[in-house]
Subunit: 112 residues, 2 copies
Amino acid sequence: MHVDDLPIEQKIKYVQDTLFVISGKWKLPILIAISQGSNRFRDIQRQVLPITTRVLTKELRDLEQNKLVIRTVYDTSPVLVTYDVSAYCKSLKPLVDEMILWGKNHRKKLIE
Amino acid sequence: MHVDDLPIEQKIKYVQDTLFVISGKWKLPILIAISQGSNRFRDIQRQVLPITTRVLTKELRDLEQNKLVIRTVYDTSPVLVTYDVSAYCKSLKPLVDEMILWGKNHRKKLIE
DNA sequence: ATATCTGGTATTCTTTAGGTTACTGGCATC
DNA sequence: GATGCCAGTAACCTAAAGAATACCAGATAT
């Protein structure tokens, strides 16, 4: 089934679902940072500055619930925690790439 | 230049720009409604219910500033106002279609 | 022994998004 | 002559997002 064939209410619903998952100031920046190799809490925080620890914690929990991020706790002392993007998270790549391209172009467009 | 070649800070910046334009509860639903033929203020409001007039006004102004919507006032009495999506707005279609597809699939994913 | 790293939590505060309700002034309709 | 449609505006309120600051305990580095 093609996107254009969906009834308008369905389109709106699905778009709102997607927005709910990825919107907010930090979610995509965090995913980008993790997928580029920042796997530790403090690494991510440094990459996505100036996010605070409180907000980062909350965002990571949200992403985990949406099955985009996997949190692993190693039973060492002190504990080691790693964050990784899930295989499912890769399904977001076409969307994110499209957003990067669109945002890049939009800057130019607004200056016109 | 390919997306993957951009430095991470640029990716993050462009993604945030895009999010800023399209996120929020109503922006995309409004664009979808207009592009499907709701061109009058009240038509849009009825299609995107339960949005209020106050919020709809604000969202339409934002969309206009981002060159996605064109507002035309006809000098009749009483005044007639129409809203149309701009040609530029069509550049959002790949992004929105991708969001529809992803949101559709994500519902299934979360039920698993 | 002092400072700094780790992965966070707790408390408080401010800002923003969005909602509620009421109202306007022309015009057409019942 | 009261009601309703049109395209909004105004004043106020609530809830949620996010920011600021301080703090924790166990380990490492100086």
